[in-house]
Symmetry: C2
Subunit: 207 residues, 2 copies
Amino acid sequence: MPNSISFDRIAIDSLEKKYRIALINSISGFKSASLIGTCNSKGQTNLAIFNSVVHIGANPPLLGFILRPTTVPRHTYQNILDTGYYTINHIHQDMIENAHQTGAKYDEAESEFEKCGFNTQYYGDFNAPFVAESRVKLGMRFKEELPIKSNGTYLIIGEIVHILIDDETFLDESGALDLGVANTVAISGLDSYFSPQFIKKMPIPRP
Amino acid sequence: MPNSISFDRIAIDSLEKKYRIALINSISGFKSASLIGTCNSKGQTNLAIFNSVVHIGANPPLLGFILRPTTVPRHTYQNILDTGYYTINHIHQDMIENAHQTGAKYDEAESEFEKCGFNTQYYGDFNAPFVAESRVKLGMRFKEELPIKSNGTYLIIGEIVHILIDDETFLDESGALDLGVANTVAISGLDSYFSPQFIKKMPIPRP
């Protein structure tokens, strides 16, 4: 095609660093945007934005996310290993600025909850802090970490032990959470936020 | 809150099976929707829809996806192990019906390309079939598979060796692929398709 563009591996590796990061981070398509809440063994809270939460299975209910222990979210990693618990909190349209700001490098003694304008919420005796402003929150128990040899990152897997939803009308009659009604955002790359508009629900495909 | 609803782990495990599947598949937020193209050692092609493609890293350029070897996509898995190559193809709004249909259980001798109305496209000597109709396509080389003990699934990791984009205007000046311009869709749960509308691009966060 006349306007098409292609990159082979040599071309990708030769790209200017920021350009390559922007390209590769956006090329996988839309991603979820979530805030992961943790605390250390002394109760110091931490909150960090992640765009790699992925569904692992429904029974048992398992979610994973990719973690880079050597960069910003290392407090998240250490806290999960130390306490065994964390929360995953949806980001809604009115939370974008504050949620994105949790990606800044704060000192361990500072809490991104406070620095970025979020309130902690605790639920029963569950050990990790939820984001009060989030309308869909998950309490997670750490299950396993899988080291990814190819680049030194980890897949962190946890099981869902609590689901907290602000409004029961977010759920449709099938049990599905209507992300449009909940106003949950999607992210592209590292910095571009989108509000998805519902197109259609498809039936189970049969040959 | 008056209309809030919560599920603890006992409640989740007690849900009717279809309700639980719908709830847990939607609770992780928006997901990418991609078609993974493979062929076996005899050249028989296969195409399957996946909603778990996840960014692993930019240097080297790595993507992962979750695979359940015991259900529908087993041809995908076997073909990747046999040949070492696969393609990841974006799903755009006008491809939803045909892409969703690749989730049906076809016999190994049948190709979802043919059955679901897609054309194969080959690029140079790259061994796996691309989806001609997709406007953003990735040629992938298998790197590693990580068995997930918690539920018997696998994280399949590959490195990007080709990026094929139909129109260079899909890329902005920073290198980011504009998923809105490319009309790539997002998926919620297993069956609900969304067209994301751009809200804003945020600057790099600093304390």
